[in-house]
Symmetry: C2
Subunit: 137 residues, 2 copies
DNA sequence: CATGCTTGTACAATGTATATGTACAATAGT
DNA sequence: ACTATTGTACATATACATTGTACAAGCATG
């Protein structure tokens, strides 16, 4: 079975309202936090990922640049995007407040859309396991 | 102690990146879901809330209209905005997916910003209690 | 080392979203 | 009736998101 193309590393939902570049950033960040993308890993080129997702390569480039500014990636012309080791951030109160506010909005929206508290908690626990499974070692 | 103005029903963070009207929607929806704003309650006028928050009244009006379309409010010229009883939504898979995706992004962002898993879980539980405290009766 | 290809980047152009300024329509109170 | 209050409609200004196109830096092959 040769020539089987790998599935794209991320999958975005165009027409979801959320900007494409932000979706790319969010999903890649999740993979980076979980350790699924370890330092040294080379990301697909901006053009490759762009065609996979059906967006312009500059849109992917903006996502990569955002993550590079956060310290996750190293970008160089002609070489590509490589995951780098990133020193842990100190939790500032700003981030804490921002998180609290957004989480409240998200939970309220889910409840308004009919999701049961049980389903919400289940999802939370599942995602938590996924995100920290590598880090717990 | 007369003339003591009530604190605004919501508090938004201008310069937080998130659109003002979306922040208003999110916070009001949280109050509506929790039952803190029960059917029959009258919301502040668009102009009143606008000056409280330092935005234009049309911005508040857009937020109110959004919630009205979701079935939370009834809007009428000259009368104001009143909370109405809203029949519960059925949980569609669309909403479930959207929630999962956004929650994953939010948790990853929090972790990237240095928040510990413990702090994240604590916040989640606190908000959950707040959101469903009235509904559990 | 020269040439061509691959990679990320810069920048202008376009469309969409967000916020505002202003005027209007419907309702309530007098 | 009249006036004040309330949400609404619409045009305008500005910021954001996405794209088209051209460029700069690194790599590979001869």
């Amino acid at each position: 079975m040769l020539g089987m193309p790998d599935p794209p590393i991320v999958r975005i939902d165009l027409g979801s309202g959320a900007p494409a570049y932000a979706q790319i950033v969010a999903q890649l960040r999740a993979l980076l936090v979980s350790g699924a993308l370890a330092p040294g890993t080379r990301l697909p080129t901006v053009r490759q990922l762009a065609v996979d997702l059906g967006v312009h390569h500059n849109t992917v480039a903006l996502a990569y640049r955002t993550l590079a500014e956060e310290g996750w990636l190293e970008l160089r012309r002609g070489r590509g995007a490589v995951v780098v080791a990133r020193e842990g951030q100190r939790a500032n109160s700003r981030a804490q407040e921002e998180f609290s506010r957004r989480l409240e909005g998200l939970l309220a929206k889910a409840a308004a859309d009919g999701l049961s508290p049980k389903a919400i908690v289940r999802e939370f626990e599942a995602l938590g396991r996924e995100l920290w499974k590598e880090k717990r070692r």
